[in-house]
């Protein structure tokens, strides 16, 4: 039996959900992969109308500030810029990495930061800068590679640090009156940080939380558990992704992050500064910090996008269709805001998979 996609099992879970969902519920997921999975599996169409699933700030590319892209674009004058595919099209203030590549700059897309280090080793006469974005999922890889680069004494490899942390963002949403009655917590991030990272949030804000995997059955089970907690007025931390997520997470990955980084206040695009929500390189790794190596003075940078409601979407205040620009002025080809750019951006996912009914 293909458990993951077994339609009978899905059916019975959905039926159970219909049985208990007797009021209105707003559940927020905070993971780009959940946003896509939810729409891709067509779950929106299967859930009771009273259960609304909204997307929070879970797409790492969407929350990467415009300035970081501007820095990378400026650095492409001196260095090979390397990053993940998602960031390629995200607009900075006046351009994107995709557009500057078309003018002949050396911009490369990789699947893993290890390839970026290889590029540096293969091109000893050139500077190589990796634009390090992503949550706790990609931060351990950055840490590992920097530890390796230090051991190998690689002198032409640098990172532009842009990693962000999920628990402080959830805490920020809770302390700013988020509309959601419960959180579907990100599976990949939790594999690294473990369930324990969220306990204080559940205790402090009494909000139901369930760590969730990425199959349709994982998502439906989590929604069921959240609805159950909300009904019983019994907020707790649950884990329906125990095959991947343990209580304390991945000790080695956490240790490597701690070796290389320290937390810092961080700017989330369209949301603002969230205390202790970012990672910067600590003293022992300063020599790899592109911001310190290159004295970048941004000439071409603006403050955040105006007239774009990505911030409201990322905080779950509105859904993409409620933004006046969605689908007409703002499309994946001509995005106004970051949520329309990344394939895991809320607006891009809604645009792609659509709303049938």
């Amino acid at each position: 039996m293909n458990k993951i996609t077994d339609i009978k099992l899905t059916d019975s879970l959905i039926n159970n959900l219909y049985r208990i969902a007797n009021k209105n519920y707003i559940i927020m997921e905070i993971c780009g992969t959940h946003t896509v999975a939810f729409l891709k599996f067509g779950l929106k169409h299967l859930l009771p109308k009273t259960v609304r699933v909204i997307a929070g700030p879970g797409c790492p590319v969407c929350v990467t500030p415009q300035k970081l892209i501007d820095y990378a674009i400026d650095l492409s004058e001196y260095a090979i810029i390397v990053s993940y595919g998602d960031i390629f099209r995200v607009p900075g203030s006046f351009s994107s990495l995709e557009k500057v590549k078309s003018t002949g700059k050396d911009i490369r897309i990789v699947y893993s930061i290890t390839e970026a280090l290889d590029i540096a080793i293969d091109n000893p006469t050139k500077m190589v800068v990796f634009l390090a974005v992503g949550f706790e999922t990609t931060a351990p890889a950055t840490a590992n590679v920097l530890i390796k680069a230090k051991k190998l004494n690689v002198n032409n490899f640098f990172v532009l640090p842009g990693h962000k942390l999920i628990p402080p963002a959830i805490e920020y949403l809770c302390s700013n009156g988020v509309k959601a009655n419960g959180f579907m917590l990100p599976g990949h991030v939790s594999t690294i940080i473990g369930c324990s990272a969220y306990q204080s949030i559940v205790d402090k804000y009494k909000i139901p939380c369930v760590v969730t995997g990425f199959e349709a059955i994982d998502i439906i089970t989590s929604i069921y558990k959240l609805v159950e907690q909300i009904n019983n007025n019994d907020a707790k931390l649950d884990n329906t992704y125990s095959r991947g997520v343990k209580w304390y997470g991945n000790a080695i990955a956490k240790e490597n992050i701690a070796t290389v980084f320290r937390t810092t206040d961080s700017e989330w695009r369209s949301i603002g500064c969230i205390p202790d929500s970012g990672l910067e390189l600590n003293e022992n790794f300063h020599k790899f910090d592109a911001m310190k190596k290159f004295d970048i003075k941004l000439l071409n940078s603006t403050t955040e996008d105006n007239c774009c409601r990505c911030g409201d979407i990322l905080r779950g205040i509105i859904e993409p269709e409620q933004c006046a620009n969605f689908g007409n002025k703002c499309t994946p080809e001509e995005p106004i805001g970051p949520c329309m750019v990344s394939s895991e951006g809320t607006c891009a996912a809604y645009f792609k998979y659509g709303n049938i009914y």
Binding site: I14, V36, P332, Y353
Partner: protein, 337 residues
């Protein structure tokens, strides 16, 4: 044969001795027929059939694939298959191809020969004659190894078109989707898998022969760039129909599926180079196609629900949900996590 030469020089394209050497010792060594052998400025083609009553189909395509060699084929094979399949799709019997080669200075001579051999073998297998061609060499750094263009002429035997599609038509795909896209991606990224994914690049003359003899075929397309999802949406928009396809019925190699999951790519949008999507009034053609080597995984993946619609393509997901299939946008990029 290396001819004391390791790589292509600019002089191979400048009309002198080296160019005629390249032509005679490589290209015409493998590609020969009474038409091209004349080496005239244009090919003399007879009208077909006698009396020119039938219409001709004429198409062209340029091939800039990277990498040039991939599991299952190379740019030469691709350049023949792609144009032959384009002719077959509209119901034409492919007859003649042209071969345009733009080679980058310094390109490996042996690789060039391998590409020409692949062109010759595939043309033979597809029953088409390469009747004219051109070779140019561009400076080092101004090309990507080699670019190939083929134009093709065929005799129209049947009339297949999106306009002929009717409500109730079965939508059939002639095998696993996405193999070509993943074969290229894994080669490009140097990803190693226990069982490598092989491109499906193939000329579909055998499949088309069956379809040409079967009644009730309304439309055929080869889902190359843009994949199955892209082509269905394009047809739906062109013929104002509503399509419903079933995710469970779409044949996908499990290896391709796993790689897609890891990379966050939808197999529906991956390129294919040896598949047809068929709109057919009847289902019976499926069993005929399944008996062929290239069509053994043929499957009915959905139906045309209604005519006079806005061109919606709806996917019934494996979990029983529904979502729309839109045209692909931008390059397929890997995701972060």
């Amino acid at each position: 044969m290396k001819n004391n030469m390791n790589s292509i020089l600019l002089a191979h394209g400048s009309g002198g001795k080296l160019q005629s050497d390249l032509l005679e010792k490589v290209i015409l060594k493998y590609i020969k027929n009474p038409i091209i052998n004349l080496l005239e400025d244009s090919a003399y083609l007879s009208c077909f059939p006698k009396g020119c009553k039938s219409k001709i189909a004429f198409t062209t395509d340029s091939y800039v694939v990277n990498p040039l060699f991939f599991p299952g084929g190379n740019i030469g094979k691709l350049a023949v298959c792609g144009t032959v399949n384009d002719l077959l799709c509209i119901g034409a019997k492919p007859l003649y191809l042209s071969l345009g080669l733009i080679i980058e200075e310094g390109f490996d001579y042996e690789m060039f020969e391998k590409i020409i051999i692949a062109v010759a073998l595939e043309a033979k297998s597809a029953g088409v004659k390469i009747v004219c061609g051109d070779t140019k060499v561009v400076e080092h750094g101004k090309g990507d190894g080699i670019y190939v263009n083929t134009a093709g002429i065929g005799e129209i035997k049947h009339y297949f078109s999106p306009q002929k599609i009717e409500a109730g038509d079965f939508i059939i795909v002639t095998g696993n989707i996405g193999d070509h896209g993943i074969a290229l991606l894994s080669e490009r990224q140097k990803m190693k898998f226990k069982t490598p994914i092989i491109s499906d690049v193939a000329n579909l003359t055998g499949i088309a022969d069956i379809l040409f003899k079967t009644s009730g075929i309304h439309c055929m397309r080869d889902p190359t760039r843009g994949g199955l999802g892209g082509i269905l949406k394009e047809i739906a928009l062109k013929s104002n129909i509503e399509i419903e396809i079933n995710e469970n019925s779409i044949p996908v190699n499990p290896g391709v599926n796993s790689i897609c999951e890891i990379l966050g790519i939808d197999p529906l949008y991956l390129a294919n180079e040896g598949k047809f999507v068929i709109f057919s009034k009847e289902e019976k053609v499926v069993s005929l196609l399944r008996r062929t080597k290239l069509g053994k995984n043929t499957a009915v993946i959905g139906r045309v629900i209604k005519k006079k619609q806005k061109g919606e393509v709806i996917l019934l997901t494996k979990t029983g949900g529904k979502r729309i299939i839109d045209i692909p946008r931008g390059e397929l990029l890997p995701r972060i996590c």
